[in-house]
């Protein structure tokens, strides 16, 4: 069997942040801080030397407590953050669903936002035209198309955002906590859509705090703990261990002082 090439290869990735103890947003603040014994930064590693490969067709779950670096990892993969060290190689198109509705303008109508957000994701207007009816149907917003988004409920915005982001068959779908919004019927619908994408060959990375959901949908799981990759493997094993996890066993985050 020919060896498969990973679709995403995460190679010794670290992401370092300056802890925002003192953030200087005006010159005055900066000079005041400078007088008070210099500008100091503590460096905090949101991700510390994380490496793993994601194969085409995987449904990867990312689990971990709050602040373990899950969202940071997703942002590094989607290109929002440039890693401080290491490299991420992605072979395919990414549809990011990191906090739904990024790129929506609340003053515009749904119709206008579909086009705006579609082009944010890099699609052509022609392509969006051809998918427009699908999007409207999936989001069930036929009657509200020409209403500005600021008058929408958060569930309606989420529905629209999910429909726009999954209008195409991306190679990789990145989903951060998105299924926690919307009612249960819509959640089911989203899960179904994701399963469809998966059977069409899309690789999915899902962040969720619902272990049940992870167990139901993912075939592999990566467990992050304070920026370290703690465990990696088949879903059942890892989630079983994760359920038993206690706070005192946590690996400490890496912080360096300069």
């Amino acid at each position: 069997m020919a060896e498969q090439k990973p679709i995403i290869s995460i190679d010794h990735v670290s992401m370092r942040f300056n802890l925002a103890k003192e953030k200087h947003e005006s010159l005055k603040e900066y000079f005041v801080a400078l007088l008070h014994g210099g500008v100091r930064f503590d460096e905090f590693f949101a991700l510390d030397d994380v490496s793993f490969d994601i194969m085409p067709g995987d449904f990867y779950g990312l689990i971990g407590l709050n602040g373990s670096g899950k969202s940071t990892l997703l942002k590094v993969i989607s290109g929002v953050y440039k890693p401080s060290a290491g490299k991420v190689t992605v072979n395919g198109t990414i549809a990011p669903l990191i906090e739904l509705g990024a790129g929506f303008d609340m003053d515009l109508t749904a119709r206008e936002n579909i086009y705006l957000n579609g082009t944010v994701l890099g699609y052509t207007p022609k392509y969006i035209d051809s998918k427009f009816d699908d999007i409207v149907e999936f989001s069930e917003l036929q009657d509200f198309l020409d209403v500005p988004l600021k008058n929408y409920s958060s569930g309606m915005v989420a529905r629209l955002a999910f429909a726009v982001a999954t209008m195409t068959k991306p190679d990789i779908l990145i989903a951060d906590e998105i299924l926690s919004v919307g009612d249960f019927l819509f959640q089911e619908k989203c899960e179904k859509r994701m399963a469809e994408l998966l059977s069409g060959g899309t690789t999915v990375i899902l962040v969720s705090h619902s272990i049940d959901q992870i167990e139901r949908m993912c075939n592999k799981v990566a467990w992050l703990d304070h920026g370290h990759l703690r465990r990696l493997g088949a879903t059942k094993e890892i989630t079983a261990e994760y359920r038993k996890f206690e706070k005192k066993d946590a690996m400490p985050a890496k912080i360096t002082e300069e």
Partner: protein, 265 residues
Amino acid sequence: MQKLKNTFAGFWKYRYLLQNLITRDFKLKYRRSVLGVAWSVLNPLLTCLVMWAVFGALFNQRGQGIEDFPLFLIIGQLMFNFFRESTTMAMESVLKNGPLLRKVYIPKYIFPLEKCCFALVNFFFSLVALFIVALLTWSHISFKTVLLAVYPIVMLFIFSLGIGLILSTLYVFVRDIMHIWEVFCTLLVYGSAIFYDPRQMESWMQFVINLNPIYWYITAVRSCVMWGEGLTPNMVLIPFLCAAISLGLGVYVFKKNQDKFVLYM
């Protein structure tokens, strides 16, 4: 070379985004206003009227010896407004779109570029005001050279884009820039020969004003539209050099810092 090609491919992919953002800005600017787009024309027209009243009537001495003073005035004012609008909007654009940039990958220069394009679109609309003034005051327009005015306008666009890139970078890190730039622009209004002709002034003042790039862009347009003198070598060279330096520096500063932007937004 490969890098340049990638950059261009990236830009090509996002050209529709650029177009959509400009449309959005345009729609939002005139949403819920009764006169809508007409304000693009009315605004410079009324401002010109105010300035004409102030300098023509109140002070009485300014504007004397300048032929077709209203036309002279509105050319300077439109050009300067374009510069101020594009740079100010570009400055805030990156930070304003922070929420988006933190979630999706988009080439970040799209935003300053979009604001400059938006200002240019507005500028073209406001040219109607120029023609209205020319008609109302029956001013002389040199049809032989009027099209040459495109050159200084394009150069001013490039110049503003470069400045906009620098300002937007600085603004992410230090918010004071906004206030400094505002004051600086006010100073620049008086130093750009909008409502006076430096040729009537003492030589040392002429020298100072000659150091101001904006003056050259404005004068070049006047020379093409009003005086029929076309572009002198200086009017070709200086606007080009200023634009090239500004854009080069802008791209350099922006590129060098753009990976850090998300950490400061």
